[in-house]
Amino acid sequence: MAWKSLYWEDVEEGQELPTVTRDITCTTVIAGAIASRDFTPVHHDRDFAQKVGLKDIFLNNATICGFVGKYLTDWTGPEGELKEISFRIQTPCFPGDTMTMTGKVVKKYTEEDQHLVDVEYEFAVPQGRNCGGTGTIALPTRGH
């Protein structure tokens, strides 16, 4: 399979990232929790979650990290190199929710020999914003 690369020259500040949706199921939540070795009951045990006042089990923070990484490098292609991510979790994402991921480029710059872009993203669920944050990615250039 051929993989496309997003080149730094082809990115503009203000440019929007593609909107991506994902339907979240119990399996999504539990597979993410176990893949990140997070056995906290609120991420796999519905009875427990309801006992502590939640509607259901919900996505753990590591799965959100994984979704952010995937969202950003699906956009850039595998040559895009994640440098950092940072986000605030606002409302839980439950099974049955459709998550809508949006983002935009807020800054394009060079630092030492790296060609970087800063992006902002937001993952929305029906009840509000699951998370919102920023990320920095180094991109390849056409010259190299």
Binding site: M1, W3, R22, T28, A31, G32, I34, A35, S36, R37, D38, F39, N61, A62, T63, I64, C65, G66, F67, V68, G69, K70, T73, D74, P78, L82, K83, E84, I85, S86, F87, R88, I89
Partner: protein, 170 residues
């Protein structure tokens, strides 16, 4: 809870625990399980041939997996001296702030992680807020920062996690 309690919390910020060793090395099946859960098809993580021809020369772990490599085993319990972070949370529990919720996550990636790399890490509380009113109840925001190191002593990345420790109810 008054200012005095907050001053006691502040005095505990920065206390470092002993260096901990990840249970397992970075390994390919775990990477693939992660990619399945995230539905991440990035070939650097699972396509041997693509990864070999890339600038890395080998499979790399998704950078966002950083904390995963250092999670404690479900069984048997890890034997380790009590960590200052646990004492910090205990102090909040005893004061009635039983609720806990992760509110902020930040990761920085300094170097890629390859299968076979073995992580050690330290972490400490780096910030605590005064008591704040939140929609869940009054609480303190506590930020913990992790530093991850590979077997060569190089920093591979850092992560900070902010939790709200809150008092349930009115």
């Amino acid at each position: 809870m008054g200012l005095e309690f907050y001053e006691e919390l502040k005095a505990m910020v920065g206390e470092e625990g002993s260096r901990l060793v990840a249970v397992d090395e970075v390994y390919k099946p775990m990477i693939r399980h992660w990619c399945e859960a995230m539905q991440d098809g990035n070939p650097l993580y699972t396509d041997e041939e693509y990864a070999r021809k890339s600038k890395y020369g080998d499979i790399i772990a998704p950078p966002t997996m950083l904390l995963t490599w250092t999670m404690p085993p479900l069984w048997p319990p890890r034997e380790q001296p009590p960590h200052p972070f646990e004492q910090f949370l205990e102090k909040l529990d005893k004061a009635g702030f039983y609720g806990i919720l992760i509110t902020n996550v930040a990761q920085k990636y300094h170097r890629p992680l390859f299968p076979g790399d073995h992580i050690t890490f330290t972490y400490k509380v780096t910030d605590v807020s005064p008591e704040k009113k939140t929609s869940l109840g009054n609480g303190h925001f506590v930020t913990t920062t992790f530093i991850f190191t590979n077997q060569k002593g190089e920093t591979v990345g850092t992560q900070s996690l902010t939790v709200l420790k809150y008092r349930l109810g009115p």
